[in-house]
Symmetry: none
Subunit: 184 residues, 4 copies
DNA sequence: GATGAATGAGCCTTCATTCAT
DNA sequence: GATGAATGAAGGCTCATTCAT
């Protein structure tokens, strides 16, 4: 039953991440439980409070960021500019918006945010350092700023807005990417 | 007495707009009433539901957008590029983040959003049309997109995030402005 | 509506006191609300937390203790021994058992208990001082000890116990009264 | 293996009795299981419901009462008054407070209480009969009344109360003992 | 036989909204 | 017309009890 429980736990995190990204916080935990196919008490056994669940979601996202950064690291040799662009687009696909709400749930200060994300920040800062040196990415771009920027741009919006102005997210990503490159 | 009532109504809208912009939705209406110096029942007399208040906030914002657009229209002759930049910065100062939540409260579809904002959209599209022609602003920039982009970038964030990455908003505005200009 | 609201508030306190005394804590606040003839939210408007309600109940009891002590003070001249006995019996009728739970709800330390009860303690200590001098009450009897003793003896018991041994409370009161008198 | 299982069962009862006596009911069964070093399911295998566990605790207490009564029976010859006093003090040490809650959990009526305790009651009544005859204990003292009195006086109290008035329990025991003796 | 996981029911608390003065 | 009070519905969380390994 260990394996089963673990899988269920992961299902909950994944579900929560998706739903947070879609609907922001203010989302009922019972909704997450239902979408995960478990009862509310099971969710609570795994995450004793809303904040702990948000924390787990944040860690899940950070893990994925790290993997994407590693991939970018590997791809850098072939085409550094493409690797950077691909990384940003990967971040865009990652429900980083859920991160915003996850952090918001915690009353934590900036320090906690940094702690949670420190692995991602470190990895990304390492990569950025190389890209700065190589002249691929502007010096003004840093790791935390990049993550927060993508999270800001991909935060869940009311459906009405998304449908009325569907290309805004894409445009802001393009704008950020352009801004991230050194002027020639 | 009419004037008094009107002033009160405006106070409520202004207060709501500020508080929405600071704390997002999920904010108790009684908090808005208290900050406005009225009882909750007075708020409800003026705005029979949360949605109606949000609507009024949206209209208030739209009014201010229109004024800013008019100002930009006037300033265009002297220095069109500066006028555009000033307009975007004016939008940034406008608590457009409150708009996001105001629209979100309403279950309304994209059509309602357009309706509410139609005046602002018309005015801004008129201006943009000129700026497109003058080569000051890229063709890909449209009125609704601009408003939503600024709203996206200025939406209220958890304090932790704001403190950890304080320049992200400014950077995204810069990025958007750069992106809005035609390549030379 | 002020008077109405005040009356309702008092009804809630009275009801809570009676129900606490009958069923101990672990009693649902909704039960108190229902027995008070109000909705749960009304109870919460008056007492923002369970602890605050318990506090109000404690104060209500303390008030009544003070009145009883005053009465005993007045009756002392005529027959001091009878006044003491009557006071203890008055305390027994007072749902002091509710006090136990009220204090238990608060995580407060002994200091808070003393603070809440300080008025009652002061009044009773004044009276006891006289009674000590007059040789009516043994020196070992003090105010807080008396209140806690009566509360202990009158604490709500499971019905089964009360029915099986109905005279125990009376017996313990008699025992306490006898113990409170100086040996001849 | 039988012995092992039995020991485990006894551990659970002992633990439950201690915890009930310390914290009253309202105590989670999982807490008892944890303190007993077993899983919650094991507790449930031994005691299919909270009530059954409470019942077992009551029986455990009754057993100990019987042993104490037997001891008092033996000691009676040497010094009957001392034997009585020692018995009451032994009862005081016995976590009888747990009994109150154990009985309270069951919805049972007075009859059930008597049934559970019948062995203790019989034994104690036998002893009391002797002590009445010998003029050591007042006729008004009976077995059930004695047990309930001690349970009442030793019931768990909020820490705040215990700390504020630490000698009340002792005083009430003294008072009860004095009351239990015939007037000279 | 023992265990940890799962579950629903229930309680505490908050909030949008309505009512009575 | 303005106000504070009242209310039920809903969400967070806990616990007795059952299930699957």
């Amino acid at each position: 039953m260990r394996a089963d429980a673990l899988r269920r736990r992961e299902t909950i995190v994944t579900t929560a991440r998706k739903l947070f990204a879609e609907h922001g916080d203010g989302l009922a935990l019972e909704t997450i439980a239902a979408h995960s196919g478990v009862g509310i008490a099971t969710l609570y056994r795994n995450f004793p409070s809303r904040e702990e669940l948000a924390h787990a979601v944040a860690i899940d996202i950070v893990d994925e960021i790290c993997r994407a950064v590693d991939a970018a690291h590997d791809a850098r040799a072939a085409d550094a500019a493409a690797a950077w662009s691909a990384l940003v687009h990967a971040l865009v696909e990652m429900d980083l918006g859920a991160l915003t709400d996850a952090v918001g749930s915690s009353q934590g200060d900036a320090a906690e945010l940094r702690t949670i994300q420190s692995r991602a920040i470190s990895a990304l800062d390492g990569l950025l350092s190389d890209l700065h040196t190589a002249g691929i990415v502007h010096e003004r771009v840093d790791a935390l700023g990049t993550i927060v920027a993508v999270a800001t741009v991909t935060r869940p919006q009311p459906d009405a807005i998304r449908r009325a102005a569907p290309s805004v997210q894409q445009n802001l990503v393009d704008a950020f990417l352009a801004w991230s490159r050194p002027a020639r």
